[in-house]
């Protein structure tokens, strides 16, 4: 599958050359460095299991595999299938909780 992507000037991603990191990237770096990202991911996984989201996604995948046949489905197919549905069906409460956690973190990291 061809993508027309604008290649950045330094494809090897050498440090900070010619491109300022965006706010999003800075936050991401801070989250990873402090280990908070790992904790948030773990919390998110727990919440999504609790509310049945994981089971729903599993059921979607199973239904798809049943329809197409086990040998005709790849991981990429499944990811493309459930990503939009998955993103749309995350409960608001889960989103709110994680946002709150991130906000708290950012305040403590004094950004």
């Amino acid at each position: 599958m061809k993508h027309s992507v604008n290649r950045p000037p330094t494809p090897d991603a050498a440090e900070d050359q010619g491109k300022e990191p965006t706010l999003q990237e800075i936050i991401n770096i801070k989250l990873i460095e402090s280990g908070e990202k790992e904790r948030l991911m773990e919390l998110l996984r727990e919440r999504l299991i609790d509310c049945g989201w994981k089971d729903e996604m599993k059921a979607l995948c199973r239904a798809h595999v049943k329809k197409k046949g086990r040998t005709n489905v790849t991981v990429d197919d499944l990811v493309h299938l459930i990503t939009p549905k998955g993103r749309a069906s995350v409960p608001d409460s889960v989103k709110a909780e994680l946002l709150q956690r991130i906000r708290t973190f950012l305040m403590s990291a004094a950004l």
């Binding site: 950045p8 790992e38 979607l60 991981v75 608001d92 409460s93």
Partner: protein, 555 residues
Amino acid sequence: MCARNSIYTNPKPCKHLADYKLRHGFNTYDSIRNCLKTTPNGRTRVAKHTTKIPRCSFCDRYQGRLYFCLMCSSLWCPSHILLHAQSEKGHEVAIDMDRSELYCCLCCDQVYDPDFDKVVVCNQVKDLPGGSKSKTNSFEASGERSSKRKRLDSGIGLDLKKSELLVSMRDRRAKSCYPLGLRGLNNLGSTCFMNSVLQALLHAPPLRNYFLNDRHNSVQCRKRSGEKLCLLCDIDAISSAMFCGDRTPYTPAHFLYSWWQHSSNLASYEEQDAHEFFISVLDGIHEKESKIRNSGKDDGDCQCIAHRAFSGLLRSDVTCISCGFSSTTYDPCVDISLNMDTSNLSSSNANKPIKPDEKTSVSTLSGCLNLFTRAERLGSDQKLHCQNCQELRDSSKQLSIRRLPLVLCLHIKRVEHSLVRKISRKINQYMQFPFSLDMTPYLSSSIVRSKFGNRIFTFEYDNSNSSAAYEIFAVIAHSGMLESGHYVTYLRLKNQWYKCDDAWISEVDEGIVRASQCYMLFYVQKLLYNKANEDSSFVRISPRRDPFESTAGCS
């Protein structure tokens, strides 16, 4: 650790993976050995770049899935990894960085290799606290006896056909009547809780065989113990009465009296809880046996019929959230009490546009079992002492079944206690249950294995026999309210369901059973079930009754 996989069928490697392995021989996965990092929650990821944020070599993306090429250690996102594999020959195999799972770039699909999984699992075991220090880790059970008694087939040593006391003969009334052993029990004053459990116990294949083989001889028992009170003798008497061919309802008065002596705190004419009664009967049987044998053996090895039939082993893993150290304990059990899976059924998820075809609003037995074996994060007020961290830490606990019993009794907890209002309420919610049950996903081998991610590696104690397949044979259903309800038992004999409502026995359709409000479910290992349902009609020769005497009908 063996690489041969018994239960799970190994997916075959794709052409590209097979070629890759051929080319690189023993060093296939060496490049990643030192790059694997295990987090406390058990996930292993590839962490080569400790300073930089991992990004796709083409588009700089750092979000979502990233793949690590085994040949050149470059990183790619799913959209661009195909380009890499197409442009560089031999770079077809990569690893999903977050999950440590193999990916074939040319097939664009996940692939599996037991050798790879072995590397990951070994690394994970080594990394987790307690892994390298001692041999006792998730693989081996610490403090467990190595003798694995296979209690599948004739483990109890009871074979119906070999017994001398039984005479195999055609039951002349077979066509028009119910199977032998089916007989109503009179209600002696709110004793339906007792009748329902007795019906289930007497038709549990191991117990049925035990009594029919005269394994508990009342005469010898009285001689040996000198006591007049013996629950087993009384159950033996009921069993004889059930199987003697007389269809008129039987009155288990002597048993009730004996049981009152044993559980005097429950002796009254009030309605009791069937599950509580069940436990107290097993307890009574065990007590008597251990008195006779004078042994203080723990439940795991006890040879009394109650334990031989019902005893299983539960495994509990408590994991420290901070460091990942986990400690394991084993506890014997005679049944499993399940909470109902009602929590994620209420539609509190407002924005769910698409629902799969599944019924997400019905409580199911598998849902309850999943809840039972789910890793539960213990509250902050329940911090436990972590041996590795040497202080109190938040932990998570997970239960699984280490050893399944011959007869599996599942108790559905239908009582809800409200601490605020200080009342108990019955949960009347319908729960769906299957007639054939596969307990494999709830075994310790499955639960523990899932901690390592998506692996096809065989663990040491994977049970390759089929003893996780169960068939239902009895259902105790409850109707009504907490204080004033009624119990009935549905029995499955030779694939026909019968309703045992105190003194009244009737044939029912399986739909009725499925729709009932189950309270206790009794499953037996499939092989035992099949054996018990073979067409071997027989009558126990009882000195008290002539089996050929015609009786007054069967309804």
